[in-house]
């Protein structure tokens, strides 16, 4: 009998041959070794196929193992933004602990709401020439300038040097910014426009009260002002720092936004990253990739192709469509209306579960994971006291070591705290000014190592501040007759204890801690100045 073709054998192995034909073939196999071998080979091939297909193609598998997120270029940028903001936030870190009753929240300059108000009003005021205010708002402005400068510039150019290492990229960006030859068109004025029939081929830096783009920008758009409106087309990315940003046209790249309010009514090719007190993604809008925002109020009515991540403090309303996961972290309430559609998982951390409203008509493809953001009092946790004890012990140790190795400097700085308002004022200036100075030095590139060293000194001084202030406070209270090391350390013990305890009084504590840092920094700066002029040390 003639042998079967490979295709027939294949159909047989797949179990798809009609019963009687399969019986005949089986009979043939008993007598034909060649066909038997072929069938065996095909069987094992099928096994290989099934086994191989059990896994996703390799790019998927490895990525899925890392996390459900793709570490896309956008995320690289985001990580960079986070790093930059973290750096810029140094001045604000200490203020972060400030806790204010809900009723007084509006007055808190560092709530999202108050912060943006302060921020934009101040930057606006300064733009109008009121630089005298700078001293008053030094802390806030220092942080803002830093964030805008670094965040904006890095992200603007990040796209071009994406493949390089972030650190290298940062350097290149800073260098590029300091070079006048940088291909960028700068327009400044009260009312900056790109007319409807106009095309800008370079990157456009526009600063003014109102920046309006009605035509086409082929490069990136960097717009800073009171109001930024994109009605035309921007082919690159948009970086904005403004009180109000409205996009009704098309942005083909990404939007890096830093504004009080952002209305997206047009088309966005890639992702939206940013910070906005209020964000609205209109129902006419379409976002080609994802949205990652820190925002107060969020209204999502449009269509977002990928994931949406909201770090919020207010209400988040979703009536549009989210292609992948919707993640809401923090925030007062979360509402999904009947028209809301989430193509992946919904995760939310909210303050109260009753503030989560998911309409019956809302469609969520994946899991719903709604959890309370538990704000447990740290005082109820033994770990808190353990950490405090370590913190306290290490501060004592550092203070003692400082006294042993730099007795003169430490004692003098402690005494310098006593100059009160002078120290405080100087301290505020240093706290806010130093980061700005470091950036300016870093921009020259040659000064980059210097600015890094400055950063180390700065952070060390911020840490040591409480030691000097503590020691001074102790000295003030104990008024020791002698001036031995023991007296100084005892004073430090008493002073640190007081500072630590007062530092945990709600609301007041944050201010006290900020004051301590400013006082200590001021004293340190004054003492450094004196030490550098030997004539004055006597």
């Amino acid at each position: 009998m003639e042998c079967y073709s490979e295709q027939i054998c294949e159909v047989f192995v797949d179990g798809e041959l009609p019963v009687d034909e399969a019986r005949r073939l089986r009979g043939h196999l008993a007598t034909c070794q060649r066909c038997q071998e072929r069938v065996d080979a095909l069987r094992s091939e099928n096994r290989v196929l099934s086994e191989s297909l059990r896994e996703l193609p390799d790019e998927e598998a490895s990525l899925a193992a890392v996390s459900r997120w793709r570490l896309s270029r956008g995320w690289g940028d985001l990580a960079l933004l986070a790093a930059v903001l973290a750096l810029g936030g140094i001045a604000l870190v200490l203020i972060d602990d400030l806790q204010i009753p809900a009723a007084l929240e509006w007055a808190n300059p560092f709530s999202v709401n108050g912060f943006t108000n302060l921020l934009f009003n101040v930057s606006d005021y300064i733009a109008q020439g009121g630089t005298a205010m700078l001293t008053e708002y030094a802390a806030g402005v220092g942080g803002v300038v830093l964030m805008l400068l670094l965040g904006g510039s890095v992200l603007m150019l990040g796209r071009r040097w994406r493949r390089r290492q972030p650190g290298l990229r940062l350097l290149i960006v800073l260098l590029a910014l300091s070079l006048p030859s940088f291909a960028m068109e700068h327009r400044h004025g009260q009312f900056v426009t790109v007319a409807a029939n106009e095309t800008v081929d370079d990157t456009l830096l526009a600063t003014g009260d109102t920046v309006r783009v009605e035509g086409v920008v082929n490069g990136d758009l960097l717009a800073f002002g009171q109001t930024v409106e994109v009605r035309g087309t921007v082919k690159g990315d948009v970086v904005t720092g403004a009180k109000r940003v409205v996009v009704t046209g098309t942005v083909e790249g990404r939007i890096y936004n830093f504004s009080q309010s952002l209305d997206l009514e047009g088309q966005l090719g890639h992702s939206l990253y940013g910070f906005a007190q209020s964000l609205r993604v209109d129902d006419r809008s379409h976002v080609g990739e994802g949205v990652v925002v820190a925002a107060g109020e969020v209204s999502l009515e449009g269509d977002v192709k990928r994931s949406v991540d909201i770090m919020g403090s207010g209400n988040a309303d979703v009536s549009g469509s989210v292609g992948r996961d919707l993640t809401v972290f923090g925030g007062r309430s979360l509402t999904l209306t009947d028209t809301a559609r989430v193509g992946g998982n919904l995760s939310a951390r909210v303050r109260e579960l009753k503030d989560v409203h998911i309409a019956d008509g809302a469609t969520i493809a994946g899991k719903r994971d709604i959890q309370l953001q538990v704000r447990q009092s740290p005082y109820s946790h033994p770990r808190f006291y353990f950490h405090q004890a370590i913190w306290f012990a290490s501060a004592m140790l550092v203070g003692w070591l400082g006294l042993v190795f730099f007795p003169g400097f430490f004692r003098a700085t402690t005494q310098a705290v006593g100059s009160g308002w002078t120290s405080l004022g100087l301290g505020i200036g240093v706290l806010a000014g130093a980061p700005v100075a470091m950036i300016v030095i870093a921009i020259t590139l040659v000064g980059f190592p210097i600015s890094l060293m400055l950063l180390v000194v700065y952070l060390t001084a911020v840490y040591l501040a409480k030691i000097w202030v503590g020691a001074f406070l102790g000295w003030l209270l104990l008024k020791p007759a002698g001036g031995t090391k023991g007296d100084w350390v005892l004073g430090l013990l008493v002073g640190l204890l007081i500072i630590t305890i007062v530092g945990y009084i709600p609301y007041l504590g944050g201010l006290v801690r900020l004051g301590v840092v400013c006082l200590g920094l001021g004293a340190f700066a004054a003492q450094l100045y004196r030490a550098s002029r030997p004539g004055m040390t006597a």
Binding site: E6, Q7, E10, A41, S44, L49, E51, L53, I364, G366
Partner: protein, 199 residues
């Protein structure tokens, strides 16, 4: 309801047998639907990834499958195992996507030329070997994703979704023997790619 009871409920669902989860999902229980998503999202994504040519479209299709499942799960009658049923639904979704992009036509057109069947020449690479290492599996996967769509789709439906020739034919609007030809050719092409790749 606090987070603790919710957590406990989720854990309960995780331990629950599939039939009960499906039953609850058919009663529009959001938690149960979420659990099904959790259990099968990877499997469905895998199918979509092999059927469609970009990760982006595969993820879109996966989302779509689970969004539609909220309604379509009511029509699941238990006559086929659920994973198989779900993969069939997902397969349909992928075919829809291909059809919308106008490419599914190719599958139907190109099969006609060779529906009579072909006998391989002696120079054709032989079936894939019996023992295959992990690294080689990865090569097989990569080669499958590089197959032309008209070969890849039936092959994946057969060996990933484990559909019969008839079922694949229904999906693609083809005769059973046409499906057989496509799968046969797909394997030959795959062997050729792997033989070529290993040289």
């Amino acid at each position: 309801m606090g987070p603790q009871p919710r957590e406990r409920e989720t854990r309960q669902l995780e331990g629950l047998d599939l039939a009960s989860v499906i039953e609850r999902a058919q009663g529009h229980d959001a938690e149960a639907l979420g659990e099904i998503h959790h259990r099968y999202v990877r499997r469905v994504l895998g199918l979509c990834r092999y059927m469609l040519d970009s990760r982006e479209t595969a993820e879109d299709a996966t989302s779509e499958v689970f969004l539609k499942l909220q309604r379509s799960i009511a029509s699941y009658d238990g006559s086929t195992p659920f994973p198989r049923w779900l993969l069939r639904v997902a397969g349909n979704q992928c075919i829809d996507v291909l059809r919308r992009s106008g490419r599914a036509q190719k599958v139907m057109v190109e099969v006609d030329d060779g529906a009579a069947g072909i006998e391989p020449t002696s120079s054709e690479p032989s079936p894939l070997g019996n023992v295959i290492r992990m690294a080689e599996q990865a090569e097989v996967r990569a080669a499958i994703t590089r197959l032309p769509e008209n070969y890849r789709v039936p092959l994946v439906l057969r060996y990933y979704s484990e559909l019969s020739y008839d079922e694949i034919g229904q999906h693609l609007g083809l005769q059973k023997n046409q499906v057989a030809v496509l799968i046969f050719r797909a394997k030959q092409e795959l062997r050729r790619k792997l033989a070529h790749g290993s040289k």
